[in-house]
C-alpha cells in the first residue's frame, strides 16, 4: 500500500499510421495509460474512424441477435478465461462476413419455420372443421334442414333442392368472442335466408398469425341463392373468419380428412427437422460466440480511442496524449515497440514526455486485499493528486473501530468464519458471475469482513463477552469468602438482603486485576453497566483524541509536499496545540485518575468532568487539586489554546498578504510558493517556469501570476471557515466518538436480551420430554443472532465506523477532490451483452 498517489506525467505518443491499431491494442491489453481527448469539439459523426465504429456496431447488432437466439434455444455458451486479442483489420472483414452469413441463414430458417407452422395450424383447423360439420349434418335435430343423405341423392349437398331454391354451404372457423355478433349480423343482413349452426372446438387452437391460444368456433352456414352467398361471404370477411371448402358428401369428407392427416404428419416431420437444423447451426455458432463478442468489443474500443487522437500535418502519424505513471514509462515504451513489431511498421512509434500544468489524475495501486479498503476511502472522495492517502491506516483503524462497537467473541468468530469461507472459495466465485447485487457487495468486501471479524474476536476477549456470557479463563480476581471472614457479612445479612456489595477494601476480596480483559464476575453483578459505561466512555474519548491527533499530524506531510512550509507553523501548529491542550489534557486527566486513585481512595476520587469544566471557567480554587500546580498548568494550557485560535485564523492570510504585497525582490521566491490547488510535483519544472511567469505565457494558473490579484478577502474567508470548522469540530468530533460506547452498549444489551428471552427458555425446561424443545429453540436463537446481531448490528457498526473515518478523521487532513486514473484497459470495459444477461 502506498503513502501517496503515484507520480504521473503527460506523454505524447507518436504512432505510425500503419501500426497504430496494434500499438493501441497492446496498450489496451496492458492497461497502462489514460487517453485524453484531443478532438473535443468534433462530433462523433465527424470523427475519423466513425465508419469503422459503425461497422462494429453492426457486428454487435448481429451478435446480439445471435445471442438471443442461442439463449432461446437454451444452449450454453462456453466462455474462455483469457479472451482473444483484438483482430487485425484484415481479419475483421472475415468476421463480418461470417456474422452476416449466419444472420441470413438464421433469418431464413426462422421464416421457413414460421411458414410451416402457419400451414400446420391451417390444416389443424380444417381437420376440426370437417369433423364437427359431420356431426352437424348427421345430428337428428338438424333433420329439417338437411334431408337425409341416405336417400342417395346424386346431386350432393350443394345441389340440394328445397323449396325450389339451391342450397349452398359455407363453413369455417371464427373466434369465439365474435360469434354472437356474427350471428346477429347474419340474421339482420340476410333476413332469415341463412341458417347458422355452430359448435365450439374442444381444444384451444393457436391463432394463425399471432400464435396465441384461444377458443374457436366451427360454424356452418346454409343459405339459398347466389346473392345471399355474396353477402354471407362479405360478412365472413368482415369478421375475419377462416373459410374452408365444404365437402359434398361423406366420402369426399373422408378422403379430405385422410389427406389432411397425412399432410399434417409430413409437416410435423419437416418442422422437427427444421428445428434440429436450427439447433445445429446455433450450437456451432455458440462455440465461437464468446470470442467474437470479445473481439468486437476490443475492436470498437480501439477505434474509439483512435478517434481521440489527432493526425499530424503530414498525415503519416497519429498523435495521442496520455497520462502515464512515471514508473510505467519503460513498460509503455516496450508496449509501443511490441505494437510496432506486430504491425510491421517501418518506423517504430515513440513516446515524448511533455510538461503540463493540468492536474493529473490520481493513481493508487492496490491488490485484492487492499482494494476493498481503498474503495471505501474513495467512496468519500478520490484523493487529490499526490495527497497523503488515508487508505493504508484504514486497513487497521477501520476494523478496530468496528470491533470496538461490535465486540463479542462468539459473533466475531461466526463473522470471521463466514469471511474465511468467502476468501477460500474466491477462485470459484470469480468464475461464476452472479447477478445478485447484495451478494456481490458482500463478496467484494470479504477481506474487510475478515479483518472486522478477527478484530471483533480480540475486542470480544477484552470485553469478555461471548454470546453475552463471560468466559472465566484465568480465574476471577474477586472472592466472596473473605467478606465472611471478618464478620462483615453474616448469615443474617445474606438472608435479609437481596443485594450485597463486595467491598474491595476488605483484604482478600480483590486480589488484583484480571490478566486480560474485564473480570468475569461483572457478568453477574447488578451494577455492571455503571462500571462498563464509565470505562467505555473514557476509552472512546481516548481513542477519539488519538485518532484525530493522528489525522492532524498527517496534514504535515501534505503541507510539506505541496511546498507550503509556512503552513506547518501557521496552520498545523495552532491546530495541534488547540487539540492537545484541551482534549489531550482531558485524556491526561483520565489516565491520571486511573493510575493514581485506587479502591482505598475511591470515596474521595474527584470527578474529571467537574475539573474540566472548572478549567474553562477558571474557578478551580474551591476543590482539592488533582496534583500540585494544577491550577497554574490549566491556566497555561487554556491561554495557549486561546492564542492558537487567532493564530489559526489570521496567520496564513496575513503571511500570504505580506508575501504578495512585497516588492519585486520576492518575485523570484514566488516561483516556489504555490497555492494549494495547483499541481506541481516535478521540482525541475518550477525553476524553468520562473522566467515564464514573468511573461505569463505558459499555462500555469492565472491565480498567482499578477501579484495585485491576490484576493486577501477570499483567503481570509476560507481560513475563517477552516478555523471555525476545526475548533468547533474538535469539540463535536470528540463527542461524536462516544458512539463507540453507545453502539457497544446497544450490542451487548441486544445480545443479553436475545439470550434471556430465547435461549433461557430452552435451557430451563424441566420436563423429561422438554429436552427436544431445546433443539428448535437453539435454531431460532441462531437465526435471530445472524439476522439481528450479525447483519443488522454489523451493518450499523460498519456504517458508524465509516462515518467516523470519513468525517472525524479525514476532515483533519484529506481533501478528496481529485479525479481517479482510469486506464484504457480491455478488462475494465463492460460488455453490453453481460449487462443484458445474454452472456
Amino acid at each position: 500500500m502506498v503513502f501517496r498517489s503515484e507520480e504521473m506525467c503527460l506523454v505524447q505518443l507518436f504512432l505510425q499510421s500503419g501500426s497504430e491499431y496494434d500499438c493501441i491494442s497492446e496498450l489496451g491489453e496492458l492497461g497502462l495509460v489514460e487517453f485524453r481527448d484531443l478532438n473535443p469539439s468534433v462530433s462523433s459523426f465527424q470523427r475519423r474512424f466513425a465508419s469503422e465504429i459503425k461497422r462494429c456496431d453492426e457486428m454487435e447488432r448481429i451478435l446480439g441477435y445471435l445471442l438471443r437466439e442461442i439463449q432461446k434455444a437454451k444452449i450454453a455458451i462456453p466462455g474462455e478465461d483469457d479472451g482473444p486479442l483484438a483482430p487485425p483489420p484484415r481479419q475483421v472483414l472475415e468476421i463480418m462476413e461470417q456474422l452476416q452469413r449466419l444472420e441470413m441463414e438464421l433469418c431464413e430458417v426462422a421464416k421457413n419455420k414460421e411458414k410451416l407452422q402457419r400451414n400446420l395450424r391451417e390444416l389443424t383447423e380444417y381437420t376440426h372443421m370437417l369433423k364437427i360439420t359431420r356431426t352437424f349434418i348427421h345430428s337428428r335435430s338438424r333433420y329439417e334442414e338437411f334431408p337425409t343423405v341416405e336417400t342417395g341423392s346424386v346431386t350432393g349437398c350443394t345441389g340440394m333442392q328445397r323449396l325450389g331454391a339451391k342450397l349452398g354451404f359455407i363453413s369455417g372457423l371464427i373466434q369465439r368472442v365474435k360469434v354472437e355478433a356474427f350471428e346477429r349480423m347474419l340474421w339482420r343482413v340476410c333476413k332469415g335466408y341463412t341458417i347458422l349452426s355452430y359448435t365450439e372446438v374442444d381444444e384451444s387452437l393457436a391463432d394463425l398469425d399471432t400464435g396465441e391460444i384461444g377458443k374457436s368456433v366451427v360454424f356452418l352456414i346454409s343459405f339459398w341463392g347466389d346473392q345471399i352467398r355474396q353477402k354471407v361471404q362479405k360478412i365472413c370477411d368482415c369478421y375475419h373468419c377462416h373459410l374452408y371448402p365444404h365437402p359434398e358428401n361423406d366420402d369426399e369428407r373422408a378422403d379430405v380428412l385422410d389427406s389432411l392427416r397425412i399432410r399434417i404428419q409430413d409437416l410435423n416431420n419437416v418442422l422437427h427437422r427444421t428445428e434440429d437444423y436450427l439447433r445445429q447451426v446455433l450450437q456451432k455458432a455458440a462455440e465461437s460466440a464468446y470470442s467474437w463478442v470479445v473481439q468486437v468489443k476490443k475492436m470498437k474500443a480501439i477505434y474509439h480511442i483512435l478517434n481521440l487522437c489527432s493526425f499530424d500535418v503530414t498525415n503519416k502519424c497519429l498523435i495521442a496524449e496520455v497520462w502515464c505513471p512515471v514508473s510505467d514509462l519503460t513498460n509503455l515504451r516496450g508496449a509501443l515497440e511490441e505494437g510496432s513489431r506486430k504491425g510491421d511498421a517501418t518506423v517504430p512509434s515513440f513516446v515524448n514526455r511533455i510538461p503540463s500544468s493540468d492536474t493529473p489524475p490520481t493513481l493508487l495501486r492496490t491488490n485484492k486485499f487492499t482494494s476493498g479498503f481503498q474503495s471505501i476511502v474513495e467512496a468519500y472522495g478520490v484523493g487529490d493528486y499526490r495527497e497523503v492517502s488515508p487508505a493504508p491506516y484504514t486497513i487497521i483503524t477501520f476494523p478496530f473501530l468496528f470491533a470496538v462497537m461490535f465486540g463479542d467473541l462468539g459473533h466475531g468468530t461466526v463473522m470471521s468464519l463466514f469471511a474465511l469461507w468467502m476468501v477460500l472459495m474466491e477462485k470459484k466465485q470469480k468464475k461464476k458471475r452472479s447477478g445478485n447485487e447484495i451478494w456481490a457487495t458482500f463478496f467484494s468486501g470479504r477481506y474487510i469482513i475478515l479483518m472486522m471479524g478477527l478484530f471483533s474476536i480480540y475486542t470480544g476477549l477484552i470485553y469478555n463477552d461471548c454470546f453475552s456470557k463471560s468466559l472465566n479463563i484465568f480465574g476471577s480476581g474477586w472472592s466472596i469468602k473473605p467478606m465472611f471472614a471478618n464478620q462483615h457479612w453474616t448469615n443474617k445479612t445474606v438472608q435479609s438482603n437481596s443485594l450485597l456489595t463486595l467491598d474491595p477494601n476488605v483484604s482478600g476480596v480483590f486480589s488484583g486485576p484480571y490478566p486480560f480483559g474485564i473480570d468475569p464476575i461483572w457478568n453477574m453483578a447488578v451494577n455492571r453497566l455503571s462500571f462498563l459505561n464509565s470505562y467505555k466512555m473514557k476509552m472512546s474519548v481516548i481513542i477519539g483524541v488519538i485518532h484525530m491527533s493522528f489525522g492532524v499530524v498527517l496534514s504535515v506531510f501534505n503541507h510539506l509536499h505541496f511546498q507550503q512550509k509556512f503552513s506547518v507553523y501557521l496552520v498545523f501548529l495552532p491546530e495541534l496545540l488547540f487539540l492537545l491542550c484541551l482534549f489531550g489534557y482531558l485524556v491526561f486527566m483520565i489516565v491520571y485518575k486511573w493510575l493514581v486513585f485506587s479502591a482505598r481512595e475511591s470515596s474521595q476520587a474527584p470527578s474529571i468532568l467537574i475539573h474540566f469544566i472548572n478549567m474553562f471557567v477558571m474557578q478551580g480554587n474551591d476543590i482539592t487539586p488533582l496534583y500540585p500546580g494544577q491550577t497554574g498548568l490549566q491556566i497555561f494550557l487554556l491561554v495557549v489554546a486561546m492564542v492558537s485560535v487567532p493564530m489559526l485564523l489570521l496567520g496564513k492570510p496575513l503571511y500570504l498578504h505580506w508575501l504578495y504585497r512585497g516588492g519585486k525582490a520576492l518575485r523570484r521566491r514566488r516561483g516556489y510558493e504555490r497555492v494549494r490547488r495547483v499541481s506541481e510535483d516535478d521540482g525541475s519544472i518550477t525553476s524553468t517556469c520562473d522566467d515564464d511567469e514573468e511573461e505569463g505565457v505558459d499555462g500555469l494558473t492565472i491565480r498567482e501570476a499578477p501579484p495585485k490579484q491576490f484576493d486577501f478577502a477570499d483567503v481570509l474567508l476560507h481560513q475563517a471557515i477552516h478555523t471555525i470548522e476545526f475548533c468547533l469540530g474538535c469539540i463535536s468530533n470528540t463527542a461524536s466518538y462516544l458512539r463507540l460506547w453507545a453502539l457497544s452498549l446497544a450490542h451487548a444489551q441486544l445480545s443479553e436480551v436475545l439470550w434471556a428471552m430465547v435461549m433461557r427458555l430452552g435451557l430451563r425446561i424441566t420436563t423429561k420430554v422438554g429436552v427436544v424443545f431445546l433443539v428448535p429453540v437453539f435454531g431460532l436463537f441462531a437465526t435471530l443472532t445472524v439476522s439481528i446481531l450479525l447483519v443488522m448490528e454489523g451493518l450499523s457498526a460498519f456504517l458508524h465506523a465509516l462515518r467516523l473515518h470519513w468525517v472525524e478523521f479525514q476532515n483533519k487532513f484529506y481533501h478528496g477532490t481529485g479525479v481517479k486514473f482510469l486506464p484504457f484497459d480491455f478488462s475494465h470495459l463492460p460488455s453490453v451483452f453481460e449487462q443484458d444477461g445474454l452472456l
Binding site: 461466526v414 454470546f467 456470557k469 463471560s470 472465566n472 468475569p520 457478568n523 453477574m524 434471556a756 435461549m759 433461557r760 430452552g762 435451557l763 430451563r764 425446561i765 424441566t766 422438554g770 429436552v771 427436544v772 431445546l774 433443539v775 437453539f778 435454531g779 441462531a782 437465526t783
Partner: protein, 101 residues
Amino acid sequence: MPSLLFCGPKMAACGMVISIWGVIMLAMLGIFFSAKSAVLIEDVPFTEEDIRNDPNPPQKIYSLYNQVGINCFIAAGIYVVVGAVSLCQVRLNKRQEYMVT
C-alpha cells in the same frame, strides 16, 4: 423409489450451518454446565425452595446443573442427526444438479 429430496440447495446448506454451529455450541454449553460455571446460574431452573429446603447444600443446585448439562448434550446429539440429514440433502441436490445439466 420416491425421491428423498425435500429441500432445495440453499435450505440444505442453512441446515448444515446451523447443525454444525448447534453441535459445537451445545456441546460447549454442556461442558460448562457440567463444570458448574457460575456465570450460567440464571439458566438453571432452580426455585426458592430448592435453596432453602436443601439438606445438603449445594448438591440440589449441582444436580440441576448436571441435568441441564445432559439436556444440552442430548440436544447436541439431535443436531448431529439433523446435520447428517442435511449433508444427505446437499449431496442429493448436487447429484440432481449434475444430472440435469
